[in-house]
Amino acid sequence: MSTRLLSPVRAQLLASVVLWSLMGLAVAILVSILIFVLARGLPHVTWGFLSQAPIESGRHGGVFPIIAGTLQVTLLGVATAMPLGIGTAIYLVEYTREGRLTRAIRFGSECLAGVPSIIFGLFGFVLFVLTLGFGWSILSGGLTLALMTLPIVIRTSEEALKAVPAAYREVALSLGASKWQAIARVVLPAALPGILTGMILALGRAVGETAALIFTAGSSLPHRAPDSLLDGTRTVSVHFYQLAREGISADNAYASAAVLVLAISLINLGSSFAMGRFMRRYS
């Protein structure tokens, strides 16, 4: 603003009006999406919807087996990602200084975080479904989700470990503990709430996933809760996608969307709240 068309005071006023209205627009878009989905969906989320099996590919009936399948796939995914991610984080934070190896590990984890979920889907399809012969199953879907949520677990566990004050380690070591004893009995328990928060976050990501699961967990409609890891299943997101795209039932589509949005929002808000509390404890 080398030309003085606007006085600094007016420019200030103009800028804050423009910026705040853009912010308002973004918030309005979000709030209207939430209200739209919940207002149309929640009235159809009845006990029957949650407890029945789908009838006629979801035109009638509920989503119970689908919810059960979703839980199995996502929990398997996160449970597999946790040891890998926590191990990586412990190694990065406790055992190494910044060097070529840590840079490679960080680069791998960041790239993995950027890889589109459809590519994970294709990869899971070739590796788990075809090469390892797991078929379209909870196992294939869960393992695919594990690799996809790995970067989240690594990053949050790293943050949690870094937040534990160095004094904890020093005291444990000075009392004669070995390095691993200090980590396992002092550092990890102190970091646990933060690590669990990361787990919840990964779960939120996994529940909303569609593209990575269509080709790995399959999209066939279960009529009862799956009872084997090799059963195929549809997750709530995939079910919702089929209902919406094929135009099978608007009511059931809205209801599934409401369940999905509500669950994920609660998961994300809960983890962000817990993380804030955890971080405050050590600062």
């Binding site: 973004a26 191990g87 190694y91 790239c111 459809i118 590519i119 790995l150 070995s178 969307a257």
Partner: protein
């Protein structure tokens, strides 16, 4: 004890290589499945605009153009909106408003892409059809939906770039009598520039890789669109739509498409990481004042992972 400790260290190092191993094996399998086509059909066929896989035409350039167009359109919407939000959240909003707005953005980040796609089908497509004409399902619809979807990425990473600017910069500027806007425009934004550029690049990565929402709103016709109201197909949509029934060369062509996508994403992430790395190094002397100001949970990489 020392032996056990060594064992643990080696075991952990093995676990730590899991992310690199995953990235390498993804690349390996996609190249293994996709390379034969590039060999058999040739690069000229693969890069043509003629996609008729049943008759041996595997040209993906219409899809590349489609991906580029919706991504460009998404940036047009997402970048100004995202940076404005980051400026308000980071520089202007009082603490109390920030406490309310931040969780709102976090919810935005968590909404699954199928829900965005459904909103597109239920609201945006009919609106476009009635008010602007055309079939509704179009590049424009894709750009609008993606523009909203990349907001959390751009906001989170720009916000971290703004936070990394030392408070002393602002204080000095304000002490010289500059207004808040002058401070933002001439001091804070230039100092945070590379971080914001990284935010935009990662937003591009997010938009290029998005699949389900795009499949639902862009119409998926394989053509190079003439107007924003024409339907188009992106690279990701091509994978999602045809993978289920593809076999032989057709399937191989889809994996080759995925390879193009993967390369684009890795290049984008490398550039963004490089810019962020340089940026953080350039702010190193101030790292102490920064650490005092910023809670540990808000570093750039964390925001990036979480915002996806």
């Amino acid at each position: 004890m020392r032996v056990a400790d060594k064992l643990v260290e080696h075991g952990l190092r093995l676990l730590a290589l899991s992310s690199v191993a995953t990235l390498l094996s993804i690349t390996f399998f996609i190249v293994r499945e996709g390379a034969p086509l590039l060999y058999d059909a040739g690069l000229a066929n693969f890069l043509s605009a003629d996609w008729r896989p049943l008759t041996g035409h595997y040209g993906i350039s219409a899809m590349i153009v489609g991906s580029a167009l919706v991504t460009g359109g998404a940036l047009f919407i997402g970048v100004p909106l995202g940076i404005a939000c980051a400026l308000v959240l980071g520089e202007m909003a009082p603490q109390r408003a920030r406490l309310l707005l931040k969780p709102t953005i976090e919810i935005l980040a968590g909404i699954p892409s199928v829900v965005y796609g459904f909103m597109g089908i239920a609201v945006l497509l009919p609106w476009i059809r009635q008010n602007l004409g055309g079939p509704g399902a179009s590049g424009l619809a894709g750009a609008v939906i993606l523009g909203v979807m990349i907001l959390p990425t751009i906001i989170a990473i720009s916000l971290d770039a703004l936070r990394a600017v030392p408070a002393s910069y602002r204080e000095a500027s304000l002490a010289m009598g500059a207004t808040q806007w002058q401070t933002i425009w001439r001091v804070v934004l230039p100092a945070a520039r590379s971080g914001i550029v990284a935010a935009v690049i990662l937003g591009v990565g997010r938009a290029v890789g998005e699949t389900m929402a795009v499949v639902m709103v862009t119409g998926n016709a394989v053509q190079i669109p003439k107007t924003p109201l024409d339907p188009l197909r992106t690279l990701t949509a091509n994978l999602a739509l045809e993978m289920a029934y593809a076999a032989g060369d057709h399937r191989s062509a889809l994996f080759a498409t995925a390879l193009v996508l993967l390369l684009a994403i890795v290049i984008l992430n490398t550039i963004a990481g490089f810019i962020q790395g340089r940026y953080h190094r350039s702010h190193k002397p101030h790292s102490r004042s920064r650490a005092a100001l910023v809670p540990a949970s808000t570093n750039v990489e964390n925001a990036e992972v979480v915002s996806r």
